[in-house]
Symmetry: C3
Subunit: 157 residues, 3 copies
Amino acid sequence: MSQPITVTEARALLVAYVNAIDRGELKRWPEFFTDEAVYRITTHENEERGLPLSIMLCSNRAMRFDRLESLERANVFEPHRYRHVMGDTEIVSAGPGRATLRTSFVCVRIMVDGDTTLFVSGEYRDELVRGDGGLALAARTVVLDQSRIDTLIAIPL
Amino acid sequence: MSQPITVTEARALLVAYVNAIDRGELKRWPEFFTDEAVYRITTHENEERGLPLSIMLCSNRAMRFDRLESLERANVFEPHRYRHVMGDTEIVSAGPGRATLRTSFVCVRIMVDGDTTLFVSGEYRDELVRGDGGLALAARTVVLDQSRIDTLIAIPL
Amino acid sequence: MSQPITVTEARALLVAYVNAIDRGELKRWPEFFTDEAVYRITTHENEERGLPLSIMLCSNRAMRFDRLESLERANVFEPHRYRHVMGDTEIVSAGPGRATLRTSFVCVRIMVDGDTTLFVSGEYRDELVRGDGGLALAARTVVLDQSRIDTLIAIPL
């Protein structure tokens, strides 16, 4: 439980996370978090100014399931897919059974008609913990480079 | 010959493959395959529906050389370059001297006038084998996120 | 000093370099070079024709500080950020305390209004040396895939 977290195993979790989303296996999304984990999408500008504004906020497991359910029900947005590419994962600090990570990413969005755009880019700021079921995200803040997003972010990043 | 394939050596082959294409060393393309290897480009949608449709299909070595020859002869398309970026390679399964891999990618296309577009994205689904000459692709299916591609794919991905 | 350079430590330097730029820590940029290092941005086409033309050229430490200073003073360009994604780093050759590297990259540019474009792509061609203060770039040539760049490159790549 309190073994140090290596960059290799941390990376495996982060890769599994983006692969699950990119393959449309959205139901697996809550699996990657601890029950009480806070998931947030915010902007670089908000972070720099210390503003607690969020583009998306799920502060526990129930809210993550709600988010998935509303995605299934909703016809408000045009179906689309994501394709993430991540930079190398940096371990900022680590203690027994926990680690703080930063990882650059770029996310491409593909609409049903094939229209492909560079959707967003930014950095994952993660708290990873080792629990009974292996590694999990105890907190993920997605800090976007873009200070304004014209379109709704429906699918989690 | 029947040693297990490590992710490190598998990755080296995949990186050499995209580098050869991105550097314009197209003549090296057939080197990466076994003689009988099937190379296919298809779409995520076709794969999901189980449709055997291909955007590009080269089911043996001779067809790969034909493809290169027609590229040299052809003036039908405007010259362009690719730049690939790959996500981490996942070993789906492995046996003695063989491995099944999945790797995310994004491919940028650069026209002669400098016009740069996010061309396609998707996943490489590969069968790797260890032969006398080292590792080689025994099968590569390029599964595109885009269900429609407006432009001809001239250069292999 | 003359120990061989591993791909892991080389990569750590290259990742720290792009992270410093992408996080807006431009002041750290000269740190990554030896005093006499030559930093150049050129195009694939120039390189192929053997033309010594450069889009940006800083042939020593003083020129790199000049470049940063002019960036701070200048209001000629609209503020923007970069986000790099690099492919795997290839060690082309290595000797005691030095290595020649090639690394693919794609660079995204994000304007203040959120406008996100695939700015440039290409290859880092690096000479790395091990000195008293650790690894440093003794030369970096940024070879762009684009033969023409419509906009000024203000921030180093």
